[in-house]
Amino acid sequence: MLPIYWLLMMSLKTNQEILSSFTLWPKDLTIANYVKIFTDPTWYPGYINSTLYVAMNVVISLTVALPAAYAFSRYNFLGDKHLFFWLLTNIMAPPAVFLLPFFELYQSAGLYDTHIAVALAHTLFTVPLAVWILEGFMSGVPKEIDETAYLDGYSWPRFFITIFLPLIRSGVGVTAFFCFMFSWVELLFARTLTSTDAKPIVVTMTRTTSASGLDWGLLATAGVLTLVPGALVIWFVRKHIARGFALGRV
């Protein structure tokens, strides 16, 4: 926790104090850094952009991963094991490998510098991860439930939405959390695929470099603010996480 405390304290200090001496807590407590960010509209788009593409990513990932995970957990089909492994390999793909091709691909598709481009780029690892986690949760649900529902005359979509989804609610929560987390912290793709319109907050932060060097206080403040959405998300899903962790594979 210490480094986080440090960041928090830094955001409350003046630049002079940060660079001149070693102090455990701010001598001249200041909220100037926060004021600066909240009153300067050039900071807003970064946060909005980040939130937008992260949200898109979570929605896309969950929508495509849910049926797939169900198929993997319930059925045998041609090439299922290979397909599953192939999906996993995408979590392993080093972003650096994909950097240039992504740039070309999205540019030729006319998606460069849009939120959807970053969201799609992040699906490269969030979708496989989502399938993997959800599969674990779904396998934990007894198959008899499916069969009883079919006997009762439920159609598949209706069964899936009204009976199955509520059963793995925690799993969906945990999955969403992981997608959120990876999309939120990723920098390399986000930076490469955007220029002005969809620039994420992590890139906006690099702006704090000025002629006199880094504006540490401001940087720290922006850092603290990037933590806030994450902390909020965990706080809201904490019950699900505790329970979800207990149920599933992750």
Binding site: Y75, L99, T123, P128, L227, R238, A242
Partner: protein, 288 residues
């Protein structure tokens, strides 16, 4: 419980295959293209066969990066896995503290990766940073911008701080999944704490531990933003890992051909390791 044979299930998997193909297969094809050609412009490219691969495989700078990477990844696994298991065992099992500690634990995971680097950059400065000042005041000559070993260790400690939480969370989940009767039986038999761990908890954790090892391995192998921000790969090349060499090659110097060849080799190394881990997981599933 046997799974049903059902070829129509392909339809349910199709969306995933489409999305992932768009963002995985198309780019990969481009990379393969680059790796076999010398590109001068949009219309002048020459087929060079495996020249780039030989060039990359003979490059001593990359050998260095690979060796550093392997040492770093091993160190990450050796420290974080036992530490994570240990801390998971210390976590409260019930009560209000569970949520609080889970949230606190998850916090480092949510810091954007370049911010992690920034935090540690200041945190470990020998003149004004907390860690730097403390270390120097108890007699270590610590300076991560000047000394390669210090820099390397700082990156390692930073990674431990950043990622051990993930191992803890995974192990904690595994521990929660152990049914109470196991512990009751152990108590009746008068098993020691160590015996409980060795014969009940450890075998039950096998599955999640493998996932933890796999994820930690993959992510440590891909580490990029944190050392980049913290040390810029220096001093010298002491903290230049594979991703960073690749990024410099591709974006910094625009050596597309060699960079692509390097990408493929890099990808294959990760794939190979992961495949071995994956097979181990499958075997364990079958046994356990």
């Amino acid at each position: 419980m046997e799974k049903r044979e059902y070829q129509w299930a392909w339809l349910m998997v199709l969306p995933v295959v489409l999305v992932v193909s768009f963002s995985a297969i198309l780019p990969l094809m481009t990379v393969v293209n680059y790796s076999l050609q010398d590109i001068f412009g949009p219309n002048s490219r020459f087929f060079v066969g495996t020249d780039w691969f030989t060039e990359v495989l003979r490059d001593p700078a990359l050998h260095g990066a690979l060796i550093r990477q392997l040492i770093f990844s091993s160190a990450v696994l050796l420290i974080q896995i036992p530490l994570g298991v240990g801390l998971a065992l210390c976590m409260p099992k019930k009560g209000p503290w569970v949520s609080v500690s889970l949230v606190l634990l998850a916090l480092p995971l949510l810091v954007p990766w370049n911010v992690v680097g920034t935090i540690w950059q200041v945190f470990s400065r020998p003149d004004v940073g907390f860690a730097g000042v403390i270390l120097n005041s108890i007699g270590f000559d610590y300076n991560y911008t000047g000394d390669s070993l210090d820099a390397w260790l700082t990156v390692l400690v930073m990674d431990v701080w950043h990622w051990t939480s993930l191992v803890i969370l995974l192990c904690y989940a595994g521990l929660q999944a152990i049914p109470d009767p196991f512990y009751q039986a152990a108590r009746i038999d008068g098993a020691s704490r160590w015996a409980v761990f060795r014969y009940i908890e450890l075998p039950k954790l096998k599955g999640v531990l493998l996932i933890a090892v796999l994820l930690r391995f993959i992510f440590s192998f891909r580490i990029y933003a944190e050392p980049f921000v913290l040390t810029g790969g220096g001093p010298g090349n002491s903290t230049t890992f594979l991703s960073q060499s690749l990024a410099t090659m591709a974006v910094g110097q625009f050596d597309l051909g060699p960079a692509a060849a390097f990408s493929l080799i890099y990808f294959l190394i990760i794939l190979l390791f992961s495949y071995v881990f994956y097979l181990t997981i499958l075997n364990m599933d079958r046994e356990g």
